[in-house]
């Protein structure tokens, strides 16, 4: 199995396990692909977490505000009618668990990796981009009609992208990872 296949399988297994264990829900797994790190328009809730070691990169989980609220409501067994701090915290923890499990699996092959504290972005009309030429391994999941996307870019440290955050006075902003 090559690295891309290993990462895609690990993302799939980890995500299904986290949803099944922490939410008691079996979500459907959709397409799994490798994609160039081109700028991507986003809307909704996007969470990022950094990986560092002899290999480095970023993991990401994104979904709509409605799905973020539903995840929070199921996981914490509470009402979550709108995106608030509790919802964002839940998505951050979900990212930590999914990418943390992927990290543990990849460490068997790539050596020790460190995991950062997650960062969550919520908004409309923002773009995310890898500052390097890293490829993203992307797996789409579906909970009823709502999509959840889990992505990971990882490459040997010398080639790894650095993190930049750009904002502007206009309506849109860009996050470069």
């Amino acid at each position: 199995m090559n690295l891309n296949d290993m990462i895609l399988k690990s993302i799939t297994d980890s995500t299904l396990q986290v949803f099944s264990t922490m939410l008691g829900v079996d979500i459907a797994c959709g397409e799994a692909l490798v994609k160039a790190g081109l700028p991507e328009a986003n809307e909704g809730v996007v969470s990022f977490i950094g990986l560092a070691g002899t290999w480095a990169g970023t993991g990401s989980v994104s979904c709509s505000p409605a799905l973020a609220c539903r995840i929070c409501a199921e996981m914490l067994m509470c009402e979550a009618p709108a995106v608030n701090e509790e919802v964002l915290d839940t998505v951050a923890e979900l990212t930590n668990m999914i990418i943390g499990s992927v990290k543990t699996e990849l460490e068997k092959h790539l050596g020790p990796l460190g995991l950062s504290i997650p960062t969550v972005v919520y908004g409309r009309n923002f773009k995310t981009k890898s500052a390097g030429n890293a490829e993203w391994r992307v797996v789409r999941f579906c909970w009823d009609e709502e999509a959840l996307v889990v992505k990971l870019c990882l490459e040997p440290k010398e080639q790894a992208a650095h993190v930049m955050f750009h904002t502007s006075s206009s309506d849109s902003c860009a996050l470069e990872v």
């Binding site: 396990q17 986290v18 264990t21 922490m22 929070c72 996981m75 914490l76 067994m77 509470c78 701090e85 509790e86 915290d89 839940t90 951050a92 923890e93 930590n96 668990m97 943390g100 499990s101 990290k103 543990t104 460490e107 020790p112 990796l113 995991l115 504290i117």
Partner: protein, 129 residues
């Protein structure tokens, strides 16, 4: 005797889940205190009698391994069992936690049964009503 438990995690979501899971274990628990990082946890330990600490590893300010080392290095706290609950599944972190004196280790994601099983030998079961 009912125990006081300290839950340490930078995620409020995980603290809330652990509160619920701990109440469902059937263990004799009096109060569940919370802290968002190791430094805050040391403040709670200073102010209250704590019988068990459940701690994450990756946290800002002071991480779980530093907290564990502080607890095991202090004469008044070193007998308190500390169970690590974390996404860190790597052998390095596990063996470091064990070497520092952790009483157990649970990987996230976790089930209520896994937490209950880990705490079975540490906390007393609640007396039947």
């Amino acid at each position: 005797m009912e125990s006081n438990v300290l839950v340490v995690d930078d995620s409020a979501a995980i603290r809330k889940i652990l509160q619920r899971v701990l109440r469902q274990t059937g263990m004799a628990i009096h109060t569940i205190h919370e802290a968002g990082d190791g430094q805050e946890a040391l403040g709670v330990l200073t102010a209250h009698r704590i019988d068990l600490v459940l701690s994450d590893i990756n946290m800002p300010k002071m991480d779980g391994l530093q907290l564990l080392a502080s607890i095991k290095g202090a004469a008044q706290w070193r007998q308190i069992p500390v169970v690590m609950i974390t996404t860190e599944g790597g052998e390095t972190k596990v063996s470091e936690a064990v070497k520092l004196g952790a009483a157990g280790y649970v990987r996230k994601p976790f089930t209520a049964d896994q937490i209950k099983e880990k705490l079975a030998g540490i906390l007393e079961p609640a007396l039947p009503l």
